[in-house]
Symmetry: C2
Subunit: 128 residues, 2 copies
DNA sequence: CGTCTATGTTGACATCCGTCGATCCAGGAG
DNA sequence: CTCCTGGATCGACGGATGTCAACATAGACG
């Protein structure tokens, strides 16, 4: 589950050179990537991810995450599960509490994929 | 809405906009961003976006987009509408055909938002 | 052991989403 | 004008999704 010794993960390996604006995604890649983007496609999950990442130490206990939201605790638990199954975060039980942290390579992969083209010459000179 | 008309986006600067891993997203921003990510959370839409962007000239006619997919033409039209309403692409009728092109600032916005933290401070760095 | 707290799981329910066939609208060609 | 073609819209249907209350599970602690 949780890799106990993630040292320095090479984010550039699978993340650097494949902006989707350069060449068309093949179907299998699209399915895989869409799963990650879909996990980000919910306001609660987006805030959860942001909240976890911005916690000091880069990790947060679930007890710190249920407060800021209007939804119930099981719902938070559900969203955390979605984020984890999407490969965006990982978690570990440590005594009484369960801690979550973001997996930077996953974010980096999506980020580089969305790298915009140099500039698309708008066909109308951007006046539309 | 989006007032950014930047032509050249500095993709190298990770301090550019506001990575969500630095500070928690507020709710309204999360709702707005989630709408865009949700639009990317479908394999067909992801491939559509990629296909449009990688077309020569940065734009593509709908007639070029219906072929590579197994879904019907109304479905493609539906997905294009979702992408357009999410602010990721724009379109224009030009004579008989309708052309779509990607809006780079939108992609850049999401990309910079996902900029990963410097590096994961291993949560298991020390036994506790 | 028993109990309390912190999380995850289950089942149910309402809503949303992707998909299709049928239809409608806008332009170009006769 | 009429016909044809590219594309959008409509209405419907099945499956996925977000949410909750209720219950289950795992440690901590007495």
């Amino acid at each position: 589950m949780s890799k106990s010794e993630l040292t320095v993960i090479d984010q550039t390996a699978d993340a650097c050179c494949s902006p989707m604006v350069r060449e068309p995604l093949d179907e299998t890649a699209a399915v895989d990537l869409a799963r990650m983007f879909k996990a980000l496609g919910d306001p609660v999950r987006l805030r959860l991810l942001s909240l976890i990442a911005s916690f000091e130490g880069g990790e947060a206990c679930v007890c710190d995450l249920t407060g800021p939201f209007d939804v119930s605790q099981p719902t938070i638990s559900h969203h955390l599960k979605v984020l984890r199954e999407a490969g965006l975060v990982d978690s570990e039980r440590r005594g009484t509490w369960v801690y979550y942290w973001v997996l930077p390579p996953a974010l980096a992969k999506l980020s580089s994929l969305l790298q915009a083209p140099a500039e698309a010459p708008s066909p109308l000179g951007d006046a539309r």
